[in-house]
Every structure is written in structure tokens, then in C-alpha cells.
Symmetry: C2
DNA sequence: CGGTTCTTTGAGGACCATCAATACGCGTGG
DNA sequence: CCACGCGTATTGATGGTCCTCAAAGAACCG
């Protein structure tokens, strides 16, 4: 059974509703690849030959221009990436590197487009995923343009707080320099920003974040349904 | 013939390949509305009941947070907007206002989702449009994060130069304060930035842009296929 | 344990926002 | 036709934010 290797993704929203036949077609020629940490899997400007799915590990999407680099997103288990470029058979706009040892499932772009045309449920799932990513990017841009770096950091801390089960104390999931890049600031500035949040109820020590006054932090961050 | 009013959009990529029957279903209950200039048609946070298409005039997408506002995009004839929110039946992440007197076609979101499920060609066109908008937003974000405001302005001037048929002299299509907001800067700063571009081959007078040294401008702007 | 990378802290400067005042453009009504 | 009012655009002064550079401390890894 060639699809046995891909059972782990069968339950993902993107694949859950499609027929068995479609899933077989989709995964024909697909494969799983192991990458060591800090390996660039995809470079911007290349053709998107495969839809990628993070099976385990952690991947960073980033972009470069003129000797500058910025982190766009960090992806964990079960995230897909390069979907838009895959569907349109275009060049990747972003690069991708592993942050840890990672297993990546790679599905030929042709298969995705073929099954999209024949399986309405899969088509619907693709549109859902595309819309979700698109809207996430718009939120990201609003965050960048409407907030100061300190406000972005405060809201980031709140968002992680929720993601980690509303714990008041938790570990940052990424290196600070990558977080800085994601938030559109330098590592030096991020370090100072953490200190400036102390009066707003945040104490940082290494990777450890402790929210000492949630009300004060929320007051300052003003999290918003339409951004966060 | 109820669809007669909508013939103007029948040829758009989004609708060109669908069956006549699908087009009828889609436009059933759709209507055209005239708006005066500077009218907010859609506010962020509302449910996306209609897919919007600019038939004539000009629309600005913008967002607000905490007494701040930012311009996200300016749309002209034949542009669609609110597509992602329409497909997922979610809240709008952006507001929209007319910049000029405009005619807007409004198609009930239900119709869009219904026809999406039954007409594969329409489904494909939807995904194309979604991908295009998504990728445009990613480019936008790269532009914001990887370039200084002066570089963004230089590249904007080059892009308009191309859009207006490679003319070395042309009129800005939007007010400067909106351009400033789109580029993530203040009007005052934009004004100064225009002056700083003089050594790089740009002379500005009112709405008039004149590129006096294209080579120098390109040298400075370093336009990039994966951003612009 | 030594080397590398990441993080923090400080000093200096570039960039950008804000405030204020003036000039410009445009449409309205006198 | 001109005067006026309104919104926009420009210019200058100032202050804050953020980046750069440099160096020291901390964490990580072979």
C-alpha cells in the first residue's frame, strides 16, 4: 500500500473530505524526506514543484532582498506551505528552511492540480486553506502597519499565552533573533522591548516568559479579533 | 434578461470560463450600486455577505486600529474584493471606501459558494484569483519589511511608470496622503522622500512625476521580480 | 573545555513621527 | 472675477524610536 506512509496527513482538513481514489492519485509520486536542522529546502524564485507539508519538526518561511532577510512565518506539524505557488504553477515568493530536524511530505504540484479539478471536496478544502493563509497574511500586515514594535511584541506574548493553554508562564517557541525578524525589528531592539514590557506585566528570563499582570498586559496590547 | 446588467464582467478571468447556467445562478440576486466619492461601503468586522466587483470608479481598502488607519490597496475597474471572506463566510478584515464616484457589482456570497461547488471552471478561477491576491499581499509584506521607505517609494514610482505604458512622465493615480499610508509612512515624510529621490532621477511637481534618469532610479530601487 | 552562536547592554546616529506654520489647489458663493 | 474656506501639501523644528556598531555575557555544542 503506497499510501500507508501518508496516513498521518489523511485526517488533516485539507485531505479529510476527499475520496480514497483522489487521495491515492494525490499521493502517487509523493514522498517523505528527512531534513537536518537549518537546511534550506526551498529558495524563492524556484518553481513550486511540490506542495510541502510539515509532518514533524519545524520550518521557517523567510525572504531576502539586497542582503537583508526577514522571517515571514514559523510552521509546525501539519502545516502546509507553498500552496499558492503550487496551484498557479508559479515561482516561490519565499524560501523555507528547517529550524529543527524535520520530516516533510512532498506532493507533486501536478497531482494537486489534477485532483483539484476532479474532486470537489478537495477543491473546497484547497480554497479553505488558501483563504486561511491569505487572511493570516493580511492580519500580519495590519499588525505591522498599525502597531508599534512594542505593541506587536505585547500581542505576540498574549497570542503565545493562548496557544500554550492560557499558561501565565511558558517558553518561547523560537529563537529571539527570529522572533525579532518576524516582528520586524532587530534582536537588540527586541531585547530592550522585553524590558519595556516589565511595567506592563511581563518578566522575561532567557526563553522563559512570565506574565505577572495579565490585565495590564491586555490593557497595553489591546488585542483585536481582526488582527490576532 | 436579468444578466444583461452583468455582461460587463462576463469576460473577466473570474467569470469567463464558467457555463451560462452557472453565470445565471451566480448573478441571481446580484445588483449594481452607485456610490458617491468617499463613502465607506464595507467596514471591517462585518460579515461578508457579498462579493464586490468594481465596475467603474475606484476603491480603497484600508484598516484601522486604535485610532490609526492604514491604506492596504487601491482597486480600479474589474477588481474584485472581499473574496476570501466571502468564500469562508467570515468577517471582513478590511474596510472599503470609494475614492471617486463608483459603480459596484455585488454578488451574494451564497451564490459564489454554491456555484463554486458545481462549476469546476469557476472553482479554478476562484483559486486563481485567491492565489493572485494572496501572492500580491506577500509581495506587499516583503516590500514593507525588506525595504526602507525611500526604496519603497522608488519602486512604487517605477511600477507606476510601467503601468502607465513606460512613460517617463505621468500623473500619480492617488492622493499623496493615501500613497504615504500605503507605503507605510506619513505625508510629511513622503514629501521629503520625493526630494531625496531627486539625485536618483525623479522630479516631482504636484501630481506630476517625471523620471529624469531611469538608469539611476533603477540602480537605486533595485526592483525585483519576486517583490514588484 | 573551547569555540561558536545567541543575547544583552551601551553609545551614537539615522530615520521617522509629531507638531506647527505656511503655501498651494480647488470649489463655492459673493 | 475675486474672496473665502477647506482640505492637502510642504517645510522646519524637535523628540522619540529604531538601527548600527561594538563589546561583554550567556547558552549551546562538539
Amino acid at each position: 500500500m503506497t499510501t500507508a506512509r501518508f496516513e498521518s496527513i489523511r485526517g488533516l482538513p485539507l485531505f479529510a473530505e476527499m475520496t480514497e481514489e483522489s487521495f491515492d492519485t494525490l499521493t502517487r509520486g509523493a514522498f517523505v524526506q528527512n531534513f537536518p536542522p537549518n537546511m534550506v529546502m526551498i529558495s524563492e524564485g524556484e518553481v513550486a514543484d511540490f506542495l510541502h507539508i510539515v509532518q514533524s519538526g519545524c520550518v521557517e518561511l523567510f525572504s531576502t532582498w539586497s542582503n537583508r532577510e526577514t522571517s515571514v512565518a514559523t510552521l509546525y506539524e501539519n502545516s502546509t506551505f507553498i500552496l499558492a505557488a503550487t496551484m498557479k504553477n508559479r515561482l516561490n515568493l519565499m524560501s523555507a528552511r528547517t529550524l529543527q530536524k524535520s520530516r516533510i511530505i512532498m506532493i507533486p504540484s501536478e497531482n494537486v492540480r489534477e485532483v483539484f479539478a476532479t474532486d470537489p471536496n478537495f477543491a473546497l478544502a484547497i480554497v479553505d486553506e488558501l483563504s486561511r493563509c491569505y487572511r493570516a497574511t493580511i492580519r500580519n500586515m495590519k499588525n505591522l502597519k498599525l502597531r508599534t514594535s512594542l505593541e506587536r511584541l505585547a500581542n505576540y506574548i498574549l497570542k503565545q499565552h493562548h496557544r500554550q493553554g492560557d499558561l501565565l508562564e511558558y517558553q518561547l517557541p523560537v529563537e529571539k533573533r527570529r522572533l525579532a525578524s518576524y516582528l520586524g525589528m532587530t534582536p537588540e531592539n527586541l531585547s530592550r522591548a522585553f524590558n519595556k514590557l516589565k511595567p506592563h506585566g511581563v518578566v522575561v528570563s532567557g526563553q522563559n516568559i512570565c506574565i505577572t499582570d495579565l490585565t495590564a498586559l491586555v490593557d497595553f496590547a489591546k488585542p483585536d479579533l481582526l488582527i490576532d
